[in-house]
Symmetry: C2
Subunit: 411 residues, 2 copies
Amino acid sequence: MRERSDALTLDAGDPLAGHRGHFVLPDGIVYLDGNSLGALPAALPARLDAVIHEQWGRDLIRSWNRHDWIDLPVRVGEAAAALIGAGPGQVVAADSTSVNLFKLLAAALDARPGRTVILSVEDNFPTDLYMAQGLARLLGGEVRLRLVSEPALEGAMDEDTAVVMLSHVDFRTGRIRDMAALTAAAHRAGALALWDLAHSAGVLPVALDAAEVDLAVGCGYKYLCGGPGAPAFLYVARRLQDRIASPLSGWMGHVAPFAFDPAYRPAPGVSRFLCGTPAVLAMTALEVGVETISLAGIDRLRAKATALTEYFITLADERLRDHGFELASPRDPADRGAQVSLRHAEGLPIMAALVARDVIGDFREPDILRFGFAPLTTRFVDVWDAVEILVEIMETRAWDRPEHRRRPRVT
Amino acid sequence: MRERSDALTLDAGDPLAGHRGHFVLPDGIVYLDGNSLGALPAALPARLDAVIHEQWGRDLIRSWNRHDWIDLPVRVGEAAAALIGAGPGQVVAADSTSVNLFKLLAAALDARPGRTVILSVEDNFPTDLYMAQGLARLLGGEVRLRLVSEPALEGAMDEDTAVVMLSHVDFRTGRIRDMAALTAAAHRAGALALWDLAHSAGVLPVALDAAEVDLAVGCGYKYLCGGPGAPAFLYVARRLQDRIASPLSGWMGHVAPFAFDPAYRPAPGVSRFLCGTPAVLAMTALEVGVETISLAGIDRLRAKATALTEYFITLADERLRDHGFELASPRDPADRGAQVSLRHAEGLPIMAALVARDVIGDFREPDILRFGFAPLTTRFVDVWDAVEILVEIMETRAWDRPEHRRRPRVT
């Protein structure tokens, strides 16, 4: 029989336990949604305060030079690069994941003239699909988004495929795709590979350069802890940088933004994928988030996340087996990101009941309860408590109340 | 003979004088660059602190519903709408000005099938031109950006013109364009009118609805005081909203973002022009900026800005006439925004010498010294002191030093 004390023993032996103090966390909740919104880094308030008072407030416009605001997209990009296996000069922080996807999809199509297909899988994250649909529509039917099932993916890469757009970790199931193998397959078909790192950056080793990835985007507000709606980042492999350009050719991607040249000329390198003025407050928060995560080291982050998801699955196997749950995530930890998803026909009210008991995960249509295990803010005892409360909810049918069936606006 | 005491008398009689206390301003500088970066609202630090600690830190992901984060783009958009003559349901805050321009230019082209020209003027703000160039390039030569001189503008509006893209206030000279007349001219040619309000929103009355403007974008970090790199806003006239859509069709513009539908279906209304996840920290700062400006009322803001620019021009006429300056801004205040630009062959080192003396304006190639008079943070005595110091710099040739000829990275 397992005990809560086992979990406390695991926490006592956790080499990353001290990192939890790098975050501000509320008492009394079990937060298993760091894959939707990372926690608040403890260093952020003071850093942002300095930017607000000593930079914006005091030095005003002079801060662009004096405090290197103008370098924020590159500086924050380089900090993120170290977490995703990207050598220098290939990553910038900018805009949103959606906007960055648009830039890179358009650039990929431009790099593969005559090829008309953006290839992806049916269950990719919706906004990724929407951005590709918007681009295809804008291009007036010359280009199309082709969606296939996962098993059909490699076979669908053909001479029409300009770019293969995939999520590294599936947002519903947490399944990790084989980035190197799928990138190589795309290349064999003559296509580029564009990866969305939303659910992998900052929580498991990503090897963009080693996998010879062409293009990637990622999210700043999940495991990178950059704050709600944080800027995103993008990666363009060095070998491609001077051959492709952004369709969102704003002044920050110009070779000389302050020359006020009427004709656009792209900057050298990945900076050409910048567009508008950098969001200084938001970039500052993202910078602090990336720094806070980076202190732990990506291998230790991965090891802890794996231990947490293994522990959750072990407890769920033992204690939830009579309650109609089905594991939606891969059982092999090598194939699984930092989340565990359970399917249940009553997933929506069950998750609502959990949230009402201060166990915060989220629900994804149609039937997925999603639990994220951000390794620096989740303890083993949180895993224990989450399962304990879930067992109680199931045994008492506490989920079976009308108020738990109401869909919130944001899920 | 005018005296500094005249300026102090003007300040004593200024009905908006008390509003200066709504901003945090450093001692000892004369800040005439609120048209590049608005000052820090005094209310912002506490508001942002609450969002950081009580929302992000404590309520975490639940804040999307509990604190209505999801409504920020609409809520901030509505607050801005009241400053620009837009009725409800037509403005959202989102992305950058550049990105918003791209969305609206593409939508305008889509609304005018068969028309292939984006028409603008040669001296429009560069990033506006760059975004149009990027879109034209993406569309593969089917569309072109046509640039004409100001006097040729109306004559160039013809049956090929899909959209006329203009800045309401010229960034170099501060000249106000006749929005109603030029919009009507665009409509007579069958084209849409897209206005960039970067240098007018928050400082002079803009009458988007009354002028029957179709589309507009504007900047959050200038007169709206939303902080460095603040989110921008966009306006789509209600009559067009359900007939056009955004090419940047991200999930926040979907009719049901959390249904995770694989096919994009645009939201009703202007919200369809949202794209990625809203930048909560940055939107909060913009919200406070807009609220702070709005307290003064747009007519009083305009009256004060006009009085400031008139005073500057009067003093410059009297005291700088022997030093080679030429007024680049319209002499008639009805034609002039809240800035005064002076041309001088040695403009770069003269501005550097001013900045070294803590009079902060900016320099715009090739020869423009630009002074912005944000009405809530600029006093008449600041105008006096700026001219006084400029006279000293000219009389002593303090500008004529090698260090003043170095171009900073950001100007």
